[in-house]
């Protein structure tokens, strides 16, 4: 029969199939690698849309499995945990009282400064449905997409601190690049914004993994100590100012001509992310001067 191929035919045709498939993959790769000037990549949107049902299914399956084992594990230390929780409750009640007083004071001050609630950034809560299946990258997928108002480059945060930014948006899911990625970055300051001059930028480094990030370009003349908090400055055009990045865990002090080498432990627990929030934040547009020499202006 003509349709049944012999082993010899298969052996002869195998290199042709190989070249065809390799070229197809290469073309897809080249299209995906092309820089889209910060816009959405069409190929990514499609793959994200088709991959999200599979990711949802795998997330539910793994959630159920790990939940079962977690329950068995948790059962062992319930009595001890109960005692600890009682002690913690007493502490929290005291803290809550202090917090209520502070909140009331804050409200009064806000009223004095004539600030309104509208200036606060709206957020969309989201659940992590998948982590990068390849071991080479550290992206996560969340269950919110363009239908929930999520857009590319929006910041993703937790109560602990910043997590990363949106890189791909599908209709019902989005992909987030973690702050520990080498291609991620944020403008940051050691200490309080407006009080400290230790400005720099944070970014991931391949050899540090997801547990640490590096802060660069902080002047060696600025005072930086282990344990200092690092906050966003809002200069990167992605993250709003005043968000917690993490805490300084190591400093190699610089000099007048050399910057500090700072390592930061992210405030958000990036290894155990389950719930996050996407900030529907649009950074203020910077006005470009009309007479800028040697820069090609985009056509409108």
């Amino acid at each position: 029969m003509a349709s049944v191929r012999t082993q010899k035919e298969i052996r002869q045709r195998a290199p042709i199939w190989l070249v065809t498939l390799l070229v197809t993959n290469l073309v897809i790769m080249a299209v995906d690698a092309r820089d889209a000037d910060g816009r959405q990549k069409i190929l990514r949107v499609w793959t994200q849309t088709f991959a999200s049902p599979l990711q949802n299914a795998s997330s539910k399956a793994s959630g159920a499995t790990s939940g079962f084992f977690q329950q068995i594990w948790n059962f062992r230390g319930t009595a001890q945990e109960n005692e600890q929780l009682k002690e913690r409750l007493t502490q929290v009640e005291t803290e809550l009282h202090a917090a209520r007083q502070a909140a009331a004071e804050n409200e009064r001050l806000k009223a004095l400064l004539n600030l309104n609630e509208q200036s606060q950034i709206q957020s969309v809560p989201a659940r992590v449905i998948a982590r990068d299946p390849s071991v080479w990258f550290n992206t996560i997928t969340i269950n919110r997409g363009s239908t929930s108002g999520v857009e590319v480059n929006m910041p993703v945060v937790t109560a602990g601190g910043i997590v990363g930014r949106i890189i791909t948006v599908g209709p019902w899911s989005s992909q987030v690049m973690l702050i520990t990625d080498e291609k991620a970055g944020a403008g940051a300051v050691v200490g309080q914004l407006g009080e400290s001059g230790a400005l720099g930028s944070v970014r991931g480094r391949a050899d540090l993994g997801v547990s640490l990030i590096e802060m660069r370009y902080v002047s060696g003349l600025e005072k930086v100590e282990v344990g200092d908090y690092v906050m966003t400055t809002g200069q990167d055009g992605i993250y709003p100012p005043g968000l917690n990045v993490g805490r300084v865990v190591d400093v190699k002090h610089g000099t007048a001509t050399q910057a500090h080498q700072i390592l930061i432990q992210p405030g958000a627990q990036l290894d155990h992310l389950e719930e996050v929030a996407v900030l529907l934040y649009h950074p203020p547009r910077r006005s470009t001067p009309e007479q800028t020499p040697n820069i090609e202006r985009p056509k409108r």
Binding site: A14, I28, M29, M177
Partner: protein
């Protein structure tokens, strides 16, 4: 000689042909199911425990099919597995497909020239496949300006160990579940047992 009454009666040759086709389609279905399960495992196990993500399940399936010396199936499964994993990964789409397709061909090429039927030989084959797959994947990312977020040598070593250890066991499992040869072997063993029983009872009579 048997009498043929009408054209609707199947000739033995044609009957054998239909049997082979149904066997082939059954085997393809099994491979599709195994591939889907391997991709689901790859997507979900990282959430359960992070070190489990070092096991490359789709690569194990690709290696298994390439060792069966079926070039078309090995190449197609390699491309599909790579592309699906790439779609939900932060890396470049197509890099995984490229790496797994080339790995599948290299193993197929070796299997057609050297006898790799021995189970012990599968261990170095799996290890080599893991190294080759990682090297090609990272090479394309570096060339196109997307450096991986983790150190190369360390990650490749972990992946090599995890994929080789788990993959060796998985290949045994796949042999038992998917391979037609092992199914035939089981069938022949049953037939032999039945034949022995029947000859024994005849002797007693």
């Amino acid at each position: 000689m048997p009498l043929r009454l009408c054209g609707c009666q199947k000739s033995p040759q044609r009957h054998r042909g239909t049997e082979t086709t149904s066997n082939a389609s059954m085997s393809q279905l099994k491979i599709a199911v195994v591939l889907l399960v391997s991709i689901l495992l790859q997507l979900s196990l990282r959430e359960v425990w992070k070190p489990l993500s070092y096991i490359d399940f789709p690569l194990v399936v690709v290696v298994y099919i390439a060792l069966q010396r079926d070039a078309w199936q090995a190449l197609l499964v390699g491309t599909l597995a790579g592309l699906i994993v790439d779609a939900s990964s932060g890396g470049l789409i197509g890099a995984g497909g490229f790496a797994k397709t080339l790995t599948a061909y290299v193993i197929y090429f070796a299997a057609t020239r050297v006898n790799l039927e021995n189970p012990l030989l599968r261990i170095p084959v799996l290890a080599a496949a893991s190294v080759l797959d990682s090297a090609i994947y990272v090479f394309w990312h570096r060339v196109l300006g997307y450096p991986p977020a983790v150190p190369f040598v360390q990650t490749m070593s972990y992946k090599l160990i995890a994929t080789t250890v788990v993959g060796t066991l998985a290949l045994y499992l796949l042999d038992a579940l998917v391979a037609e040869r092992s199914a035939q072997r089981r069938q022949f063993a049953t037939r032999r047992r039945v034949a022995r029983r029947s000859t024994g009872s005849l002797r007693r009579r």
